[in-house]
């Protein structure tokens, strides 16, 4: 029931570190880091202390030490501000890229927040691509329709399961979603809020691809303090919540 890793597709492992690990390709995939989030809030008038940068770096370090990948793919939304690069982003995205590119080949898949990522990435000679293909899998952020054959690995949605017990207590856990064709990654950012998969209506979904397919058939694997927890499918979860 509780595990550290779970295979989504042959050779593609979901981990409790909110990254995918592909041993055959010596590759790790993370998504939705949203570095610079605090800076964006500050520009809106919120006195937000710095928080994410150090925590994200520590977690990346742990992942790299553990899996020793040859390649790291960031599946979009590395940074948070759409419209420009904040000083904070130059520093934090720069530090993360510096660290990652010293230890592995880095591929940046562009997310909807990454409009100005290229200028930072260029300093480290790291490419920013729309999609990245690995075997039969297309890695794409998911804010735009994905063309092509085979399996698709998305991010963007920040999926979470929100569960309510009999007295009304709420538990929210980030989760992976997957079936044979599509998988969705949880957000790496500790501050990102997400889409609750068991109550979301189709029109609430952010990804065109998910909007067209719906979530019902997807399996749910949640990231928790106990490791990964299998919660059957989205359809199963909503049935269960009606039954209780």
């Amino acid at each position: 029931m509780e595990a550290d890793q779970q295979e989504l597709w042959p050779g593609w492992l979901a981990t409790s570190e909110r990254c995918l690990y592909v041993p055959g390709e010596e590759t790790v995939v993370v998504a939705d880091l949203h570095l610079g989030y605090e800076g964006v809030l500050r520009l809106e008038g919120v006195a937000m202390p710095r928080y994410q940068g150090d925590r994200i770096m520590q977690r990346l370090q742990r992942i790299l030490d553990r899996y020793r990948p040859r390649r790291v793919v960031v599946n979009g939304d590395f940074k948070h501000e759409f419209g420009k690069n904040l000083q904070m982003e130059w520093r934090e995205v720069g530090a993360a890229l510096d660290f990652l590119s010293r230890r592995a080949e880095v591929v940046l898949v562009r997310g909807n927040h990454d409009n100005f990522l290229k200028t930072i990435a260029a300093r480290f000679e790291v490419p920013v691509v729309e999609e990245h293909r690995m075997g039969e899998v297309t890695i794409a952020h998911g804010h735009r329709p994905v063309a092509g054959e085979g399996r698709v690995l998305l991010a963007h949605e920040h999926p979470v399961v929100r569960l309510r017990d009999e007295v009304g207590a709420l538990l929210t856990l980030p989760c992976y979603l997957y079936d044979r064709e599509v998988a969705v990654m949880p957000a790496f950012s500790p501050l990102a809020s997400g889409t609750d998969v068991s109550t979301a209506e189709r029109e609430d979904l952010l990804s065109p691809l998910l909007r067209s397919r719906g979530l019902d058939s997807l399996r749910v694997v949640a990231v928790s303090g106990l490791g990964l927890l299998d919660f059957s499918t989205v359809a199963g979860l909503s049935r269960a919540s009606h039954r209780r």
């Binding site: 006195a47 710095r50 007295v167 538990l171 927890l229």
Partner: protein, 843 residues
């Protein structure tokens, strides 16, 4: 240093002080002085800080102004009135400010018409509604009497030119001080007054005007400031009060709801018809709407003669209602709290309270709105709605007759309010930390402010560890830790201060639409959160059924014929005070003895019946607490009959639930009322031993447990938004952009998570806990109560009868007030996963 006025001066003594013009005018207009004027005018004239507590219509306002007007006229006669402010008048209500201006203008006009006086005396009002043009005029030619609100005062303190005109203020009058002292608006004002006085050569005289309130000494200290003297003039007993408790039906439990409701409206209607003007107080805004709706429906002839008045109505509607009330055009106005304060409402000969006003002080303040002249008796009728209400109001009326008021509590060291003033102070000049602390500690609420808390606040406000683009928002002051000095930083801060100061939190208003997208109105978020599909409620005088909600939008359908089924709007309800709760528990003991012995003289039959039914379960009273344990549906209920008022109960309930959650490894739902609380949990976890139940009420570690209990609650998150906005952590208005309340809420949630993790002593976090534990809840009385319990002064009995007692019904009816989670998140996760998977596979 607080003393009571004992010298009642004769007319002659007071007239002697007045210039002839004022003396003649007064004599012609009033003939003689009222009691509060006899005690106060001479003392104020002699330069003493004075707090005046006196009923409506007793000449209170004039007693405060008379000495000042007299002096100003003397100067005006000599042509020596200078271009500066002599009198500063502050009241919490804009409407009251306009009243006061009118009431001063009139006599002055008469004086100037009858006499040749070279200098004009100018009066000026400044509130949030004052136009730019008027403000500029005031800066050029300052009014001699300046009338304002606490918020506008804080703004003018930082206006470079205008604040100069305040430098020689001689009289400061704070009106309706009872409505300020126990909340953060009052804390805010207390700091403004110290900032104003700081550096003045001649200290102004402070005069406070208050309705019935207790303890008077604390209000006097609040008015005068720490370690200053103040004279109290208390003539509240001068007006007679006639209070009766009425039950519309004889049997408060077996009468069918529709019949009881009819009887209630019949009784109400009878009273309205028998009087000239009736003011009805309900305890909630929604009830206000409901009562008006029902009265109009049952008595169509009242259409146009009865209106609602509450804070959710637009300003225009409220002013219109006030005007018509004043002109005697209305037979009845139904209000929640909005008409409690002293705006002039004309002639009211009856006040009806629907349901218990929950405190003796509030009952007397509300009832005091009737009988406008001093010699008239205030007439109040309390209509009770259920049996708990009957018991409560019976005791309340008795206490009111004896004049035993509940005590208010003044918030201690609210750091969010202080944050605003520190920014304001920094804008004015550079400060040494010690020097600033001296000024701040002169304000009564901050008299014991620890230096460490102040330094932490400076550290937060300086935000020096952030990079440049962050500092624009983050750093609001410059702070040198070495030198222990602080001062202004940057040009952005002044507009931030002006646009964000104030203490009243924005509430998230949820918009209500019909399915075909017609806008119906707004309701407050806590109310919206509680609605279930099918609930029927009244909005803007019409009934609607709740269909569904989507983010900050409710969808309803009109149900014109349906009977409203509004669930109790608990967050909005007034809490029963501790003092009154203790009186009620003592009454319960006497009533129990009477019912046991069969001698029930002086007890209403409904009370006798109620207590007789309760005997089987034990009657909880001031020397015995009962806890009922039983199962119902899928829950086990532990009902604690702790009659200590809702604020103390709130603290007790969370502590008990928190301890239970952690010893048993479960999550609990809470229902909290004035009379006790219900802790519910899934029945599979089983019952507790008597010892385990007693341990839930141990006084050891109360404060720490309460703080941990609050950690994951919705309440803490919501309050954190308020505190963050007050501390300028979330700017509601930044660079000309208004931040929507829902956006504030989302940002506050993130901010809360971060702050909690990086620094448990972050000022906004400390203040959120303090505000909840000390202001919203009543941790001190909770502690006192638990200590009595542990020393055996109050006995604890666990009752297991397999079903709830009659006293439990109203506690269970609340449903849910909050959820308390076990701290072990892994265990919670495991249980939840297990449960969900069982449901997934089970069928």
């Amino acid at each position: 240093m607080i003393s009571y006025a004992t010298q009642e001066y004769a007319d002659r003594d007071i007239y002697e002080l007045l210039v002839p013009e004022v003396r003649d005018w007064f004599r012609a207009k009033y003939g003689t002085f009222t009691p509060c004027q006899r005690y106060a005018v001479k003392e104020i004239h002699d330069g003493k800080n004075t707090l005046i507590s006196s009923p409506t219509g007793s000449g209170k306002t004039l007693s405060a102004f008379l000495a000042a007007i007299n002096e100003l006229l003397l100067l005006a006669k000599k042509g020596q009135l200078e271009d500066k402010i002599y009198v500063l008048y502050v009241s919490p209500l804009k409407a009251l400010n306009n009243d006061i201006e009118r009431n001063l203008e009139e006599p002055l006009r008469e004086l100037y018409r009858q006499h040749h006086i070279p200098d004009r005396m100018r009066i000026g009002v400044r509130t949030g509604d004052t136009s730019q043009k008027e403000r500029q005029q005031q800066a050029r030619r300052p009014p001699h009497i300046f009338i304002t609100t606490p918020e506008s005062l804080a703004i003018v303190l930082n206006a470079p030119k205008f604040s100069q005109k305040l430098q020689e203020v001689r009289w400061i009058i704070v009106d309706e001080i009872h409505s300020l002292a126990d909340n953060k608006r009052g804390s805010h004002l207390s700091l403004s007054l110290e900032r104003l006085q700081q550096g003045m050569r001649r200290k102004p005289i402070r005069i406070g005007l208050s309705a019935t309130i207790s303890p008077m000494e604390d209000i006097a200290r609040f008015l005068a400031g720490a370690r200053r003297t103040c004279l109290v003039v208390d003539v509240t007993s001068a007006k007679k009060t006639d209070i009766q408790v009425l039950s519309p039906v004889d049997d408060l439990i077996y009468t069918p709801a529709s019949e009881a409701s009819s009887a209630l409206y019949d009784t109400l209607h009878r009273h309205i018809v028998d009087h000239r003007t009736t003011l009805v107080f309900t305890n909630t805004r929604s009830a206000t709407e409901r009562v008006v709706f029902n009265l109009k429906q049952r008595h169509p002839e009242l259409e146009g003669a009865i209106e609602a008045h509450h804070g959710s109505l637009s300003r225009e509607v409220r002013i219109d209602v006030e005007e018509r009330l004043k002109n005697g055009e209305l037979r009845c106005v139904v209000s929640s709290t909005s008409l409690e304060l002293g705006i002039d409402i004309g002639y009211v000969d009856l006040v009806v309270l629907l349901g218990s006003p929950k405190s003796v002080t509030r009952a007397l303040q509300r009832i005091g709105r009737s009988g406008h002249f001093l010699h008239e008796t205030s007439k109040g009728r309390i209509l009770v709605l259920d049996r708990d209400d009957l018991v409560e109001c019976t005791v309340l009326a008795r206490e009111a007759k004896k004049g035993r008021l509940d005590r208010i509590r003044i918030p201690r060291d609210p750091l969010d309010v202080l944050a605003q003033h520190v920014v304001g102070m920094a804008l004015q000049q550079q400060w040494g930390v010690e020097e600033a602390l001296r000024v701040i500690r002169r304000a009564h609420p901050y008299r014991n402010l620890p230096k460490k808390d102040f330094q932490r606040l400076l550290h937060y406000l300086a935000g020096e560890y952030e990079e440049l683009e962050g500092q624009k928002v983050y750093g609001k002051i410059w702070y040198d830790q070495e030198e222990q000095r602080f001062g202004r930083r940057g040009k952005m801060v002044r507009p931030i201060y002006y646009l964000n100061l104030g203490t009243i939190p924005d509430e998230v208003a949820v918009k209500v639409y019909t399915a075909d997208r017609h806008f119906v109105g707004k309701v407050e978020e806590p109310f919206a959160e509680r609605l279930k599909p099918g609930d029927i409620f009244v909005l803007a005088g019409k009934t609607y059924e709740f269909v569904r909600s989507r983010r900050l939008r409710l969808v309803v359908k009109p149900r014109p014929e349906a009977q409203p089924t509004i669930p109790s709007w608990f967050s909005e309800q007034l809490p029963l005070s501790y003092d009154l709760a203790r009186e009620i528990s003592a009454f319960r003991r006497t009533a129990e003895q009477k019912v046991r012995s069969g001698y029930t003289d002086g007890l209403a039959p409904a009370i006798v019946g109620y207590f007789r039914e309760q005997l089987h379960f034990g009657v909880p009273h001031d020397r015995r607490v009962t806890v009922e344990s039983f199962e119902q549906d899928e829950f086990r209920h532990l009902i604690f009959h702790t009659l200590v008022g809702r604020q103390a109960n709130d603290a007790l309930a969370r502590v008990a639930a928190h301890r239970l959650a952690n010893t048993k490894g479960l999550n609990a739902r809470l229902a909290i009322t004035d009379n006790g609380f219900d802790v519910m949990y899934a029945r599979r976890h089983g019952d507790l031993s008597d010892g385990d139940i007693a341990a839930l009420l141990s006084p050891d570690g109360l404060r720490d447990d309460l703080q941990s209990a609050l950690k994951n609650t919705e309440m803490l998150k919501r309050r954190f938004r308020h505190v963050a906005a007050r501390s300028f952590m979330i700017l509601k208005n930044y660079l000309g952009h208004e931040m929507s309340v829902s956006r504030q809420q989302r940002h506050a949630a993130v901010l809360f998570k971060v702050v909690q993790e990086i620094d448990p002593y972050f000022p906004a976090l400390t203040e959120t806990y303090r505000e909840i534990m000390e202001d919203t809840m009543d941790i001190d009385h909770a502690e006192e109560f638990l200590s009595l319990l542990s020393r055996g002064r109050i006995a604890l009995e666990v009752i297991r009868r397999g079903m709830p007692s009659p006293f439990s019904f109203n506690i269970m009816a609340v449903g849910a007030s909050d959820i308390v989670l076990m701290e072990d998140r892994r265990a919670f996760t495991r249980q939840m996963h297990q449960q969900v998977m069982e449901a997934v596979h089970g069928g």
